[in-house]
């Protein structure tokens, strides 16, 4: 049985133990029986949470392994954007220098 199947089975059992019918039945039983039901439900609910967290952890670990390469991609894209900005900045500087040259030449007799 896989972890997923076990989790699914435990969930079905828990739902049955927490149904209105089971709850109503145990409310008519002795305090000791009610305490036993609560202990059993507590145990099953705890197992469900732990199994679910194990799956969460597994996925989080696998995803985190990819973080380094995603960061490389982010740096790469950022430097492409910076390079575009610097190309335009260079063109604007050339334009400004030429504008200045034009004005200086206009003053030369």
């Amino acid at each position: 049985m896989s972890k997923e199947e076990l989790l699914s089975q435990l969930r079905s059992i828990e739902l049955r133990l927490r149904s209105a019918e089971v709850q109503a039945f145990f409310m008519t039983q002795s305090p000791a029986d009610r305490a036993q039901l609560v202990a059993l439900r507590n145990e099953i609910s705890q197992q469900i949470s732990q199994l679910a967290n194990a799956q969460f952890q597994h996925l989080a670990n696998q995803l985190n392994e990819l973080s380094a390469d995603l960061n490389t991609g982010i740096d790469n894209l950022q430097s492409e954007l910076d390079s575009l900005e610097s190309t335009i900045a260079i063109l604007n500087t050339i334009s400004n220098v030429l504008g200045l040259v034009g004005r200086v030449i206009a003053f030369i007799p």
Binding site: E4, S8, R11, E14, L15, R18, S19, A20, Q23, F26, M27, R34, A35, L37, V38, A39, R41, N42, E43, S45, Q46, I48, S49, A52, N53, Q55, F56, Q57, L59, A60, Q62, L63, N64, L66, S67, D69, L70, N71, T72, G73, I74, N76, L77, Q78, E80, L81, L84, E85, T87, I88, L91, N92, I94, S95, L98, G99, V101, G102, I105, A106
Partner: protein, 289 residues
């Protein structure tokens, strides 16, 4: 002959320009779909955190009605919640990283650099002509050449952007494929997890807020509140059904990235993905309310 060459040059420029625009648009739309997905996933993770905490609270309240609980029994259920909160925080950090990646892809694909480069080159030519007029008494660059230079510069920058996007996606092809495969697994898991936890909430909350007030000897004091509670509880399972349907959308995103790298992607497919992720976002919002 000169006219023929001009027409050919104009056609080549037009084709280069429009082709690069089309492809860049596909990159931009797919990156937008990726960003929408990460927004929806972030909300879904937050909603999962709330559902997990609430389902534990409902379990504890139900058990408390049957027998007095010990601190150990409380901790048995509450401690895993704290671990879930930490794991969700870790997953949200990773999703934010993915969101930043898609955001930069979109920023590069929708960059207005080609237009600004065209304006800049026109400025260079205008100033060159001013200098030339001062020295030779005539313009160095003719008006038609100036507009051609503007178009060429714009096309070169568009081509540079398109090339950079293709290069980046080719370099990150395997990582993106693996990332989206794992996101698909995560969404499937969240869908199963939320369906299970919502079933617990539905069942225990129905007992606490609907059945118990109805079966107790005293009449229901707030009838409208009871009706609202009952409606909210009975429609909870609809949200988890919608989530199951939406979990297929990441598979489509993964396939779309594969098609983009191999030039087979169509905009219609990406647009349908945007709708899917909007639905996912709506589901996440419903879960939080």
């Amino acid at each position: 002959m000169k006219r023929y060459l001009s027409l050919t040059l104009a056609s080549v420029l037009f084709v280069t320009f429009t082709t690069s625009c089309k492809s860049t648009k596909e990159f931009a739309t797919l990156a937008q779909a990726g960003t929408s997905y990460t927004t929806a996933m972030d909300r879904l993770l937050l909603a999962t955190q709330e559902v997990e905490i609430d389902s534990t609270s409902e379990r504890l309240l139900q058990d408390d009605t049957a027998s007095n609980l010990s601190v150990k029994q409380y901790r048995n259920l509450s401690d895993p919640n704290e671990q879930t909160i930490k794991l969700i925080a870790l997953l949200r950090t990773h999703v934010k990283l993915l969101s930043r990646y898609f955001g930069l892809l979109q920023e590069l694909a929708t960059s207005n650099a080609p237009g600004r480069a065209k304006t800049s080159i026109n400025g260079v030519i205008d100033n060159l002509n001013s200098v030339s007029k001062e020295i030779h008494g005539s313009s160095l660059v003719q008006a038609n050449v100036k507009s051609g230079a503007g178009l060429i510069t714009s096309a070169i920058i568009s081509g540079k952007i398109r090339g950079a996007l293709k290069e980046e996606l080719n370099a990150r092809k395997d990582t993106i494929e693996k990332e989206l495969f794992l996101q698909e697994e995560l969404l499937k898991f969240l869908s199963t997890e939320l369906t299970g936890e919502l079933a617990v909430i539905k069942q225990t909350r129905e007992q606490r807020l609907v059945i118990f007030p109805l079966t107790s000897e005293t009449p229901i004091a707030n009838a409208d509140g009871w009706i609202n509670n009952r409606r909210t509880i009975l429609t909870m399972s609809l949200v988890s059904q919608e989530l199951n349907t939406a979990s297929n959308s990441v598979k489509k995103l993964r396939e779309a990235f594969g098609d983009l790298v191999s030039d087979k992607l169509t905009l219609d497919r990406v647009n349908s993905l945007l709708d899917d992720f909007d639905s996912l976002l709506t589901i996440a919002e419903k879960l939080k309310s």
